[in-house]
């Protein structure tokens, strides 16, 4: 009796130290991350102060912060900052949605239909090898300086990534699962809905992470090439007046937007893929 209680209580303290060790490790990682940031930014700032880095070309962290504060308070040279952010988010978001939906639909259609994929795969390969950013010029000529040309460029940037992943995901669907569904009585459409789409979903969601970044690139490059508003235009304007701090400040704003989008996509992904076993490889 005494022995059982002893052995039962024995592992308890060991588990606690494991948890504690993990917490300590996490704290250490956070502290080191912060240290790296401080060293980088601090080094940059000190380098400028001691004359090792020319702030005219490479900017200065404190000046970038001041620039951001100024933009938020007084607006930018091309209008209020919020307006520019919103325009770029709108263009990238609309392009992302349209491109992703088209990509998923085409990927599934071609993945499920041998003839369609035989006919079109060659054209998609060719289109994919074209540097698509160049199409931005055409879209601006054709669709004008407004949002439409940027949305179109973002669509083109997103479509191929999502399409390729959806197609691959459909092709990788487990043959046994498809056979099982057919024997259980599923029609072609039911096989697509109940087996093919769920198994392609993790591929598609993975591609969405990458492709929102592409949508932002599409929108910003489009604004670069010709626009009346947006973060791309803000960067182009800063570049035109040799304002490197302005370029960096705009970059930070865009990075924050991208990170927030990434976070939202991860939330959606976790909701849609609850059936997956938890991966043991943490972060």
């Amino acid at each position: 009796m005494a022995e059982t209680t002893l052995s039962a209580s024995h592992p308890q303290p060991r588990i606690e130290t494991m948890v504690e060790r993990m917490r300590r490790h996490n704290r250490l990682v956070m502290a080191l991350r912060l240290a790296v940031l401080v060293v980088l930014i601090g080094g940059w700032e000190l380098g400028v102060r001691f004359g090792l880095i020319d702030p005219f070309f490479f900017g200065q962290p404190s000046a970038i912060a001041l620039k951001l504060a100024d933009w938020f308070q007084n607006g930018t040279s091309i209008g209020p900052l919020w307006k520019q952010i919103w325009v770029t988010i709108y263009e990238a978001g609309a392009g992302f949605l349209i491109g992703a939906v088209l990509g998923v639909l085409c990927g599934i259609a071609l993945g499920r239909n041998q003839l369609l994929s035989d006919v079109f795969s060659i054209y998609i390969k060719v289109a994919n090898s074209i540097p698509r950013v160049v199409l931005g010029s055409i879209f601006i000529v054709a669709l004008g300086l407004g949002a439409a040309s940027k949305v179109a460029l973002a669509v083109v940037m997103v479509f191929f990534v999502v399409f390729a992943n959806a197609f691959q995901g459909v092709r990788e669907a487990d043959k046994n699962l498809i056979a099982n569904a057919r024997i259980l009585g599923a029609s072609n459409w039911q096989v697509t809905r109940a087996v093919v789409i769920p198994s392609a979903l993790s591929w598609i969601l993975a591609s969405l992470h990458v492709s929102f970044g592409f949508a932002l690139v599409g929108a910003i490059v489009g604004e670069f090439l010709g626009a009346r508003e947006g973060m791309g235009l803000l960067i182009a304007t800063a570049q035109g007046s040799f304002d490197s701090n302005g370029v960096f400040a705009a970059m930070i704003v865009i990075a924050v937007v991208a990170l927030i989008a990434e976070w939202i996509l991860t939330l959606i992904e976790n909701r849609l893929l609850t059936w997956r076993p938890e991966t043991t490889a943490g972060e």
Binding site: N180, L184, A194
Partner: protein
């Protein structure tokens, strides 16, 4: 065979050939004959890679023979037939659906209303001993429990012909014994014809009314043995029975010849 009842499954002079990547023609089945009566438990044993799974694919309508005829209840097989159930060797339950969703998949595919399908699914989940696991996803279950899901998923469709492709080969010995017992019980209530493919001769004898031994590739039926052991059978103790051992010895002589021939051929 009873003249009034048609055969459940019949294969007549069936051939199934594949073209290998090097352009050779590989014959999996050649001049293959097999007849299974309604309600009969029929097992096929044979060396690995001899075309047992190919046979099941032909009956299920997943593949077409190059020669000969495959019939279900005297009508030729044309595509997937709703009277057929199939339990796969690997896991074929849908990983993104929970147990309930998996079991009710068949009735829903076949156009049953949702509430009816769900009630029936809950009944089958209880019958295979998974009550309380309705909301679990397959990755949260053990291999044996996933097999139970697969059985419920198949039996809920009331198949007239049940095809099983080494369904228990991935399970450990104890779990396999439990599942064999479970299967016999489900089968005795369902009255469906079963074609059970296995490489385990003991398993074939324990379960089946008749056991066919196949030759090496191209597969033909070498011999069909009738297993006249009384039912209901006790899977756990039957294998020590005199009659069982006698039958096993007789068939394994047949089988060993083919295994040796298969090895010599490679």
């Amino acid at each position: 065979m009873d003249a009034t009842s048609p055969t459940a499954v019949e294969l007549k002079h069936v051939a199934r050939r594949f073209v290998t990547p090097t352009g050779e023609i590989l014959s999996a089945l050649e001049d293959f004959d097999l007849t299974i009566a309604p309600g009969e438990f029929f097992a096929i044993v044979g060396p690995t890679g001899c075309g047992k799974s190919t046979t099941l694919g032909l009956i299920a309508g997943l593949a077409k023979p190059q020669a000969g005829e495959v019939t279900l209840f005297d009508a030729p097989v044309d595509g997937v037939d709703t009277r057929v159930g199939f339990v796969f060797q690997q896991d074929a339950v849908f990983p993104w659906r929970n147990v309930l969703g998996n079991v009710m998949a068949g009735p829903l595919f076949r156009g049953q209303p949702r509430d009816k399908a769900e009630a029936e699914a809950r009944d089958w989940i209880t019958r295979v001993g998974l009550k309380g696991f309705e909301d679990h996803h397959p990755h949260q279950l053990s291999g044996g429990m996933r097999k139970r899901v697969a059985l419920a998923q198949t039996f809920i469709n009331h198949p007239k012909v049940l095809l099983m492709d080494e369904p228990f080969s991935a399970l450990d010995v104890q779990t396999r014994e439990l599942m064999q017992e479970e299967l016999l019980q489900l089968w005795s209530q369902s009255k469906s014809a079963v074609l059970f493919v296995t490489h385990d001769l003991d398993e074939a004898i324990l379960l089946a009314d008749r056991v066919a031994v196949l030759t090496t590739r191209p597969a033909r039926v070498k011999a069909v043995h009738t297993i006249d052991l009384p039912r209901p059978r006790d899977v756990a103790t039957l294998r020590y029975d005199e009659g069982f051992i006698e039958i096993a010895r007789r068939i394994s002589d047949d089988l060993r010849e083919e295994v040796l021939r298969a090895r010599a051929g490679h």
